[in-house]
């Protein structure tokens, strides 16, 4: 009897200490995530300039949004620029396969390909803006060597998004390459040996051993890239400060930022930010569901 009482007292003390240890992040979550989230949802139903009191307007902002050409355009631009994600994943898997070979220089290559990842996005945007310069830029110089006359990348409606995609692939390649490399190194060798014994060629081994084995990494990268891609802002802000030629490179976060902090339409901007949040949530949720189904069928 006294034994169990002592134990429960000990447990209570442990509970108190544990709750104290997690209290700080939990309070931080309430203050800087949950409260702002609820407030954003509330503000999205109001007309609000950030200074005077918000005026309740029902669904006005949401209705307005879908008639707002600039909102639709920036949403489209943001989605369009995600084309770079699958391209980047394919290239980085190829790189990881190459670096997974037993040969000299792999550490060196790994470092070189990783350099853009750790570079600050502001500095990277500045140097790529210069590299995309129509007359004196590095890109058109390289194209000139091949006898191609390059466009004025960031001023041309047809090339401004491809330019930003190229830069994003360059910046992100090293990260996905590294994760793929880690996944490849954990694939048991006997799977390949067994596949080879069964008469599987290189392509079939890749298709039926490598691809399924790195699927969790692919899933992780797709989810994080979409979440990151939906929030593209810095490169737009620096490389095309006015949203690009004919608004062709304005992203959704760029437009929210402009509406909220330049035009002080904070209610409207909140509504757009809620839509962005929902979009990220839905994409993450769908990906998790798809992944779970895949996991099931492997089991």
């Amino acid at each position: 009897m006294s034994m169990t009482m002592r134990r429960s007292r000990l447990h209570r003390r442990e509970h108190r200490a544990a709750l104290a240890f997690v209290a700080i992040p939990v309070i931080g979550f309430l203050l800087f995530t949950l409260f702002p989230l609820l407030f954003s949802v509330y503000a999205s139903f109001t007309n609000w300039n950030g200074i005077s009191a918000p005026v309740f307007k029902g669904f006005d902002n949401y209705v307005k949004m879908f008639g707002d050409r600039y909102f639709l355009k920036s949403m489209w631009n943001t989605l369009f620029m995600m084309i770079g994600i699958p391209i980047g994943l394919v290239i980085s898997l190829g790189l990881a396969l190459a670096l997974n070979r037993k040969m000299r220089g792999t550490t060196f290559f790994r470092t070189v390909y990783y350099l853009p990842v750790i570079s600050s996005i502001a500095a990277v945007a500045i140097l790529w803006q210069w590299a995309f310069n129509g007359d004196f830029g590095l890109i058109n110089q390289g194209l000139g060597l091949l006898g191609i006359e390059g466009p004025n990348w960031l001023q041309d409606t047809a090339t401004v998004k491809p330019a930003l995609i190229i830069m994003a692939i360059w910046k992100g390649l090293g990260y996905s390459m590294l994760l793929y490399l880690a996944a490849l190194q954990s694939v048991p060798r006997h799977l390949y040996e067994a596949a080879a014994l069964d008469g599987a060629g290189v392509w079939q081994q890749f298709r039926h051993v490598t691809v399924p084995m790195v699927r969790p990494v692919t899933f992780f990268l797709v989810v994080t890239s979409i979440i990151g891609g939906s929030q593209i802002f810095v490169e737009i802000n620096i490389m095309t400060p006015t949203g690009g030629p004919e608004f062709e490179s304005a992203s959704i976060v760029w437009y929210i930022w402009q509406k909220a902090f330049d035009n002080l339409q904070m209610g409207y901007a909140s509504a757009m930010s809620v839509v962005l949040g929902l979009l990220v949530f839905v994409i993450t949720f769908i990906q998790f569901r798809l992944n779970r189904r895949n996991q099931f069928s492997i089991d």
């Binding site: 200490a17 544990a18 790189l95 853009p116 600050s120 500045i126 004196f136 929030q231 962005l276 895949n294």
Partner: protein, 316 residues
Amino acid sequence: MSPQPTLISQSAQKTEDSGNEASYGSRPSLPALPGKHRRTSKDRLGNVLVTLVLSLGAIIMIAPLAWTFSTSLKTREGVFELPPQWIPDPFVWENYLRVWTAGPLLSGIQNSLIVACSVTIVGSLTSALAAFAFAKMRMPFKNVLFLGLLSGLMIPFPTLMIPQFTVFAGIGWVDTLLPLIVPGLFGNIIMIFFLRQYLSSVPDSIIEAARIDGASFLQIFFRLILPVIRPALAAQFILWFMAVWNDYLAPIIYLNSPGKQTLQLVIGNFNAQYAIQTDYPLIMAASFIALLPVLIVFIVFQRQIIESIALTGAKG
């Protein structure tokens, strides 16, 4: 959508099965692969080709960085020479002196250091304490609290930035570093997640033993847990430091006066201001200075950083 995954997974199952068979049998009894010698010479040829392709790729990866450095050492007119020069003629090292007086670069570095150091040092401690509690201590509502914190990861910062801004504006914190520092002091859920994961491999028995010896939980944390998680903590610390150092969206919302801005904003303004005056060498010198600290940190701590990131993927 569904037929493809099942197709792959069926075949994955097949290979997995046969893999298991192979591993049950003792290794040496496997028949030797035919043509072993031919394969190694083919491997060598493959290695040469792969190295060539990787080198070409490496040049593409390095070129923009090298071009930045080269431009930063040119004269203002030299930038516009055709065909462009890769090796500046003459070398204008003076650009790297000019840049310090051309804008608030020094105060930018100071501000970035203040923000990044205070956030990561205090925030790592609060995160580590929470990770310890989540991994090793009995507590009511443990899973609810942990999942709640994790769910915060799914909410993008732009959805939170407008209310955060108005609250910080209300208490007069706009144009100070406080809105960038204070939220970070409360810890970082990604760090909590990985430290908790790391701690799960530490046996409970050492903590029980310390409890029996009469150590308090705080003592256990500082004497037992902190030394154990040091490698994971260091790697996460560096990653977080670089993320804060490179941040742009939060600083651009809060900081207006040039002397208050962080380094990333300062170089952004350099870019806007000096592009009009076509002083590209100055812009590139400032950008290169902004890149350098992180490049150095990366090259020094390369192994820890790379291993930690690889772990992220494996666990993610």
